[in-house]
């Protein structure tokens, strides 16, 4: 049964523009409850702290804070702040926006990274952004520190940390 001829017609851009179609631009709104553990995590961010949780059975200090240890399958024993410094585990210099639209040449690039936070167990990273750094100077293993919003502007969201910036010696 060698597949030789296959059905389906692909439309060219011109054909697509001419084709009859129904369009819809949804305007949906959601509100997501923070829950118990992330609620505490966000409250701590407002206070300028990164909150983890500790499990006495596996001895992990986990990020972000969670109400149960997913490995030991039991409630965590403690919520505790870790440091606001970390190590870049991996990063990107991104030239497109969330919807795939392109950044203009002079717009600053997005600098997402996985940052392993100090004071948590090894490998406990969070995704955040890097800032106050030239893209070409970023490297894996770079030590960074949270740049917090001014206290009065913090809202209890992950963006209360504006970005992580290099720790300059």
């Amino acid at each position: 049964m060698t597949i030789i001829k296959v059905p389906v017609k692909g439309l060219s851009s011109k054909e697509y523009e001419r084709s009859l179609k129904v369009t819809w631009q949804p305007e949906l709104q959601y509100a997501w409850d923070n829950g118990i553990a992330i609620g505490k995590y966000l409250e701590a961010l407002k206070d300028g702290k990164i909150l983890g949780s500790r499990c006495e059975k596996c001895h992990r200090i986990m990020l972000p804070a969670r109400s149960f240890c997913e490995l030991c399958w039991r409630p965590v024993d403690e919520y505790l702040p870790v440091k606001d410094t970390g190590i870049v585990n991996t990063f990107s210099i991104c030239h497109v926006n969330w919807d795939a639209s392109r950044l203009k040449p002079r717009e600053p690039r997005h600098l997402p990274a996985v940052i392993e936070i100090e004071g948590a167990s090894a490998g406990m990273g969070i995704m955040h952004l890097l800032g106050n750094v030239k893209p070409k100077d970023i490297y894996i293993g770079m030590k960074v520190k949270a740049k917090w919003k001014p206290r009065k502007d913090r809202e209890g969201t992950i963006t209360d940390i504006l970005y992580f910036e290099p720790v300059r010696k």
Partner: protein, 387 residues
């Protein structure tokens, strides 16, 4: 009652295109009809139907299972939709395997469909909701971030260059020239890949598979039925799936251990002890070129960090010792997510039957593996086929 042995007895595949004129149900209908014709069966012969399709946000249809029901041939039959993100296409035949191995069905139709072009002008934005709504979405992530982050971590761990990675795209796009369903088959050079638009360093435009519309179908049958239908059954002898933690930033991205776990499950079931020697042809999921290398390692087809060298040495070419993605993969044939995974299983089926035409790998392959990957970089789905 133990498990029953399950065979593949037919398959169908539409062309993969950027914007199909056909609707999702029409795409599904085409693939199902081809599969029925290939096995000389009628829809009434099908006991049960399982359908795999990825996020509803692509089609913009909330109940995609119900939407695709008629095209999938599921009317008035036991019918169900299955879903594990990007891993769905290879999970769909695993789900079909459950239907038949358990004894619930003698013949099960497996369908996979995706119409990504409905999300217009580009489906990229639909992916934002895969990220955690509270701790990640406010950072305005795009899907490419996670690939860029994982690719860089992988390259850094093994000291790989952009050329090492680009070579996969070159190979797969070339392989796809021989695939009648292919959307983006072309002869490109490593330089073409590296000169293509830089999207999120280190990911270039040509490192990525396109978004696509398409459908695939496969018919599974119990051993006694399969032997009646064909003198050349291809056995679905191993299935495995596994999900790692959703806290994706807390695990080292250089190695897909969930793929290894899924592969071990499938290999144990199929009695495979040394995958690098016993598997003759493989279709790991390649939505990005580095993913093929990443997955070869997770599937234990080579040592960790060795896949790029094998690729550079030509081992993974169609006429190499271990042909990888002889179909042309997602990078060449196209990537209608769920349909891509099933396309890969179909490719292994055709290769083992000796029916792959111009794509046929030499050496009379008898054992092959197909794999898909997805969700938040956390799911591996693996099938082992044997003649």
């Amino acid at each position: 009652m133990g498990k029953r042995r399950v065979a593949v007895v037919g398959a169908g595949l539409t062309k993969f295109v950027r914007r199909a004129q056909e609707t999702g149900p029409e795409l599904s209908h085409q693939a199902v009809k081809m599969a029925l014709d290939s096995a000389d069966l009628k829809l009434k012969d099908i006991d049960m139907v399982t359908l795999g399709t990825a996020p509803d946000a692509f089609d913009g249809v909330h109940m995609k299972g119900e939407y695709l029901l008629s095209g999938a041939g599921g009317n008035n039959k036991p019918y169900i939709r299955n879903f594990v993100g990007g891993g769905t296409g290879v999970f769909a035949p695993i789900h079909g395997w459950m239907h038949v191995a358990s004894g619930a069905a003698d013949i099960c139709m497996v369908v996979a469909e995706e119409k990504m072009s409905c999300c217009h002008p580009h489906p990229a934005g639909a992916f934002i909701t895969i990220f955690d709504h509270t701790t990640e979405q406010p950072l305005k992530p795009t899907l490419i971030w996670i690939f860029a982050l994982e690719m860089r971590r992988y390259m850094e761990t093994y000291g790989l260059s952009a050329e090492d990675i680009a070579r996969v795209a070159v190979k797969n796009k070339k392989n796809a020239l021989d695939h009648p369903s292919a959307q983006v088959a072309e002869e490109v050079t490593i330089k073409d890949v590296l000169d293509s638009e830089m999207l999120a360093e280190p990911v270039h435009r040509l490192d990525i598979s396109p978004s696509s519309d398409g459908a695939a179908a496969m018919i599974l049958a119990s051993e006694d039925v399969a032997k009646r239908l064909t003198d050349k059954p291809i056995w679905l002898d191993g299935v495995g799936w596994n999900l790692d933690t959703s806290y994706w930033a807390t695990r080292d991205l250089y190695y897909p251990r969930y793929v290894e776990k899924a592969a071990r499950m499938a290999y144990d079931m199929a009695g495979i002890k040394e995958p690098s020697k016993e598997i003759h042809v493989a279709e790991p999921y390649d939505p990005f070129d580095y993913k093929e290398l990443h997955h070869m390692e997770g599937l234990m087809l080579c040592e960790r960090g060795e896949a790029a060298q094998l690729t550079a040495d030509g081992v993974t070419e169609r006429d190499g010792n271990l042909p990888i993605c002889p179909s042309g993969g997602a990078l060449g044939v196209g990537n209608p997510i769920a349909a891509t995974g099933l396309m890969k299983v179909i490719e292994i089926y055709l290769q083992l039957k000796g029916d792959a035409g111009k794509r046929q790998v030499p050496g009379d392959p008898r054992v092959g593996v197909a794999q898909a990957w997805g969700d938040l970089m956390q799911v591996g789905t693996v099938t082992v086929l044997r003649r």
